[in-house]
């Protein structure tokens, strides 16, 4: 635990190392980004489902996705980046990946706080569904950490993984209803509607939709719960999370003993 705290602290300090505003950037950056996005997407592009809460929904989706891609992107390199450490002292090396994920978790917290302020401005009405949020976030954290562990293991052996992930993350980003409203695709009907339903089976998309649904707009955000009828379709994303988690823990544990030698 002490190691984890030490590493997270160090990472956090390093992030805004040498900048004039220091830690203030961690709040300032999302605020500025959100303002830009808000103006571009909600005012100019009008890529919206025409509900007043859509801009907040959009921001919520973007920062949730940022958490996933940051956790995996940094976590993937963390083992190799901390190689000098792992070659000199013995400590459980998953801590290195976890510390990277906690760093992203901190920025997620800050981002959510900013989104919350935006939500207040947009007069979002919160419902009892907010109580589901911790579970949704837990799922999001588990899937991100699992993928980070899995890719970090691969990265020790094959540096190609970093490039593969870069491309792959772009693909899944657009295969998820983050920059566009899912209802917009469903409304098109036909093949598009089926594809939109398929998108929801991706656990990351499912979680992000759940978060949007529960926090901000229960009425307008389709989720896996109100889109599918049969229980096995509803269970699909969760089964996927479980599979990925088991696989990555297994792969990581099997290989982690050899990290110090291979790097």
């Amino acid at each position: 635990m002490t190691v984890l705290r030490g590493l997270v602290k160090t990472d956090f300090k390093m992030r805004y190392q040498g900048s004039f505003l220091g830690v203030a950037w961690s709040v300032l950056k999302p605020v500025l980004l959100f303002v830009v996005m808000y103006i571009v997407f909600a005012k100019f592009l009008r890529l919206t489902d025409r509900t007043p809460t859509y801009p907040v929904v959009l921001l919520l989706g973007i920062c949730s996705w940022q958490f996933v891609s940051e956790t995996i992107g940094i976590g993937l390199r963390s083992i190799v980046d901390r190689g000098d450490l792992l070659r000199k002292v013995h400590f459980p090396n998953y801590i290195v990946v976890v510390s990277a994920s906690i760093g992203s978790l901190i920025s997620l917290g800050i981002n959510y706080a900013v989104v919350f302020v935006f939500a207040l401005f947009q007069h979002v009405e919160f419902t009892w569904r907010v109580l589901w949020l911790p579970l949704n976030l837990l799922e999001l954290y588990i899937i991100s950490l699992s993928l980070a562990l899995l890719f970090a293991t691969c990265y020790v052996y094959f540096r190609d993984i970093a490039h593969i992930w870069e491309v792959f993350s772009q693909i899944i980003f657009y295969a998820m209803p983050i920059m566009y409203p899912l209802s917009y695709v469903i409304d098109k009907g036909g093949v598009y509607a089926s594809l939109a339903k398929l998108e929801l089976l991706n656990p990351i998309a499912q979680t992000i939709q759940d978060i949007r649904h529960n926090l901000i707009a229960p009425a307008t955000q389709p989720t896996v719960w109100n889109t599918f009828d049969s229980w096995w379709e509803k269970a699909m994303p969760f089964a996927l999370v479980l599979c990925v988690a088991c696989l990555s823990v297994y792969v990581f544990r099997r290989n982690s003993k050899r990290f110090a030698e291979v790097m």
Partner: protein, 448 residues
């Protein structure tokens, strides 16, 4: 530090009464060395399609077994590439053995390379806490030992400076202080006795001497320095080519190590000589360093064993080939490798070494060793011709250097390691004040 009495110190005689804190049991370790240049997915795929492994196995440790008991100061020596560092990493659980097992009892603090996880952007204080955490200590535990660490490192004024503003010596001192002042049960040290300036080294020396008396602290020290092994260790182990070549009494182990080093040196020399011989037989007029066409062979080699006690005489031979005249000299110089400098020289035209037979011959000599303390020595022979009309000096034709010189060592339990001349042949005697005054009077009289 514990308040144990010096009498409780663990020694070679009673260490077995203490519980085992480190048990290395039949450990084998090998590495996969890639045979191809790249290590990407592409290469892995190519190797797979070709059906080749893409690596070869490097066996670094073979069946290594030993136990260290609590309170011991255990030394591990060996040549570079002999498997010492790998063994240390296995003990520290950074590497895992391919076969066998390692069991550690208590908290192990490794100091394998300098500056474990030090971050240049953090201050000295933050680095100490991070380092402590990595070694497995909680914040409170580091609090407790923090002052001790800073004091030992002598860096009180610098602790709130960023580490990047430290000199490299200061960084090393801080890292080392964290390792040895951390309240671990087993301290694992690799090649660290060359840390810091002289004053700091003396401090470390004192610390090691004191820790040796402490029956609760176990230290495992890896080094090339036989002196360190002898000063601090209760027991030692010599690792050669990944195997335990000797273990137990430090003197015996030190002996084996010295001997092995001399053996290797001799093998190298023999190989070099062979190569020269071969080149010469191929018609290339190549002479070893120091020799030439006038004197193609001049070689000093040992007849006695290479490690001797002070009571023995070192017997050696000088082989030469010189065809110009029947009137030349050999001059033999004794070089002290450990302390430096020429200890003894027969002189440029010593009649005893006046040679009268030209051609290819071997002459034999012996030399008493009772004057010296322990050390490593080297004999250089030169071949000299008289200069007509000059009786003061001679002309050097050739000198036996490198593999033509010969190395031996003196090892005697009665001897000391430090000074050249031992106390049995020379002593400084106390005199009375009257005697001293008499000398002073004599000196004054002479000057007047």
């Amino acid at each position: 530090m514990s308040d144990a009495m010096p009498g409780d110190a663990v020694t070679i005689d009673n260490y077995e009464e203490q519980p085992v804190v480190l048990d290395v049991d039949h450990v084998d370790k090998w590495f996969k060395l890639p045979t191809e240049q790249s290590t990407g997915l592409k290469q892995a795929f190519i190797n797979w399609t070709k059906g080749i492994k893409g690596y070869k196995r490097q066996h670094v440790l073979r069946d290594v077994s030993f136990q260290v008991h609590r309170g011991e100061f255990f030394g591990i020596v060996g040549r570079n590439g002999g498997g010492k560092s790998t063994l240390l990493k296995i003990i520290s659980q950074i590497y895992y053995p391919n076969r066998g097992s390692v069991h550690v009892e208590g908290k192990l603090v490794p100091f394998i390379e300098l500056g474990v996880g030090f971050n240049p952007e953090l201050t000295g204080r933050e680095n100490v806490y991070l380092n402590g955490a990595l070694l497995g200590f909680t914040h409170d535990e580091v609090d407790a030992m923090y002052d001790d660490i800073v004091e030992f490192a002598e860096l009180e004024e610098f602790m709130d400076q960023k580490l990047k503003n430290y000199s490299s010596g200061m960084q090393v001192r801080l890292a080392f202080s964290v390792a040895i002042k951390a309240q671990g049960d087993i301290l694992v040290l690799d090649e660290v006795l060359a840390v810091g300036d002289e004053a700091f080294q003396r401090k470390c020396d004192d610390y090691f001497t004191s820790i040796r008396q402490d029956p609760t602290k176990t230290v495992i020290l890896v080094t090339h320095d036989m002196g360190a092994i002898k000063r601090y260790c209760t027991r030692a182990m010599f690792i050669q080519n990944g195997e335990v070549a000797a273990i137990g009494d430090k003197e015996t182990v030190a002996e084996r190590y010295t001997l092995a080093n001399l053996d290797i040196m001799r093998e190298e020399e023999a190989r070099k000589a062979e190569r020269l011989q071969q080149e010469r037989s191929e018609g290339k007029a190549v002479y070893p360093n120091g020799l030439n066409a006038r004197c193609p062979v001049l070689r000093t080699y040992a007849i006695s064993p290479l490690v001797l006690t002070s009571d023995e005489k070192f017997c050696f031979a000088v082989e030469y080939e010189f065809n110009e005249s029947d009137d030349f000299y050999l001059a033999i110089a004794l070089h002290d490798i450990r302390r430096g400098g020429i200890t003894f020289d027969t002189g440029a035209h010593n009649e005893r070494f006046h040679m009268t037979e030209q051609g290819h011959h071997t002459v034999y000599f012996e030399m008493p060793l009772d004057l010296f303390n322990n050390g490593e020595f080297r004999l250089f022979t030169s071949l000299r011709t008289p200069i007509p009309g000059n009786t003061d000096t001679t002309d050097m034709v050739a000198v036996a250097l490198d593999d033509n010189a010969c190395t031996f060592a003196i090892r005697d339990p009665r001897n000391m390691d430090y000074a050249l001349i031992n106390t049995r042949v020379m002593q400084i005697e106390p005199i009375t004040e009257e005697e001293a005054l008499a000398v002073a009077a004599q000196t004054a009289a002479n000057e007047a």
